[in-house]
Subunit: 191 residues, 2 copies
DNA sequence: ATATTTACTTACTAGTAAGTAAGCAAACAT
DNA sequence: ATGTTTGCTTACTTACTAGTAAGTAAATAT
């Protein structure tokens, strides 16, 4: 008998991968159960509905993001933090061209159960808040160069990263690296 | 008896809206037929499979894009062209927070039939090619300011626009306008 | 006037989706 | 040793999916 947390974590791992590859509406309990070698109903034992599963997947992603940025709280320089953040997206690219959960949630938004929408908003807000602070701090310290409100630049940068993974799927992975290079170039360009 | 082209066009109109709102896997023949007041099988008469329908939706979008940019071939200035291009996205935002077909195709990419993938690639490539030329021309004429290869900047800009519609869904429409403002600000920032 | 094509509808199939109820063996608690 | 909880499986339901085959009334062609 596997321990509760083991199976639950394995379900989340597989479901997260499927969600990022296939989208919210195209992945199913059957995909998960067949990959895990258990039965469909076993997933319902841990996640009564797909809504619970979907919300938990995004929640876990949020927690991972918190853990990441908390490690940087004390004196990691701006460019290193930006690179660390970009690395998350690059890892998704390398892991079977996964797309970030915000893109997945957004494109299926009007079919999502309430709690999944809510988690998606929390994730997006937390990323934007953090990125805004990073950009503002970096601009003050002279590390980053851009005009306009920092939260505009944060939204533009985040949406560019989100879009980069999507464009990479359709047009080829090199487009991801081109976009990263451009984001960095733009932040280096002094006025 | 409705004429062939009337019904076919109406199917495409409704299906396109559903695809942009719900995603490729969440919209169904039943959604279309009930909205149109016809039967499910009538759609199969015009579009034997969902693959045909999906591919035709994207193809029509490509043709619309061609028609748009062809009107600009003779001496419309760079900023007017960029504004015209952005307006397409803004129209999607206003029409029930539709997301662009590239985002829809990307997030469901690994569930898409071959011909739909192919059309998505064609659409994305054509947009990137056009935008690259516009940015390069604008940089030479001194209208746009940016560093690095024009096709890098085109990819970054296009992915930012694609992402903007998605972020708007989750976080609120104001984010779309912030991103547009930032894209324009960045292109005005001289070195 | 007759034959054929067009634009559908009716009625169906096979597959898959999420979700549930009941049972059962192993682990654990007392 | 006994009872209870845990972690599942078996077996099922309801709903919906794309897709098909056969039929039909109106429009068109000859």
């Amino acid at each position: 008998m596997a321990s509760r947390s083991d199976t639950k974590t394995r379900i989340l791992d597989i479901a997260e991968g499927l969600m990022q590859r296939l989208g919210y509406n195209a992945f199913s309990y059957q995909h998960i159960s067949s990959q895990l070698g258990i039965k469909n109903a076993a997933i319902h034992y841990y996640f009564p509905s797909k809504e619970h599963l979907g919300a938990d997947i995004i929640r876990r992603n949020r927690e991972r993001f918190h853990a990441l940025v908390n490690r940087w709280q004390t004196g990691v320089d701006c460019w290193a933090q930006l690179d660390g953040f970009i690395e998350v997206y690059q890892t998704n690219l390398h892991e079977d061209n996964k797309v970030c959960l915000i893109a997945i949630a957004a494109s299926a938004y009007y079919t999502l159960p309430a709690s999944v929408k809510k988690e998606a908003l929390a994730l997006a807000s937390e990323i934007l808040t953090w990125l805004t602070k990073l950009l503002e701090t970096g601009r003050i310290s002279g590390d980053f160069h851009f005009e306009g409100p920092a939260h505009y630049k944060a939204a533009a940068t985040a949406s560019s990263l989100t879009g980069a993974l999507q464009l990479a799927r359709i047009c080829g992975n090199e487009h991801f690296y081109h976009i990263i290079a451009q984001i960095k170039t733009d932040l280096k360009t002094s006025i």
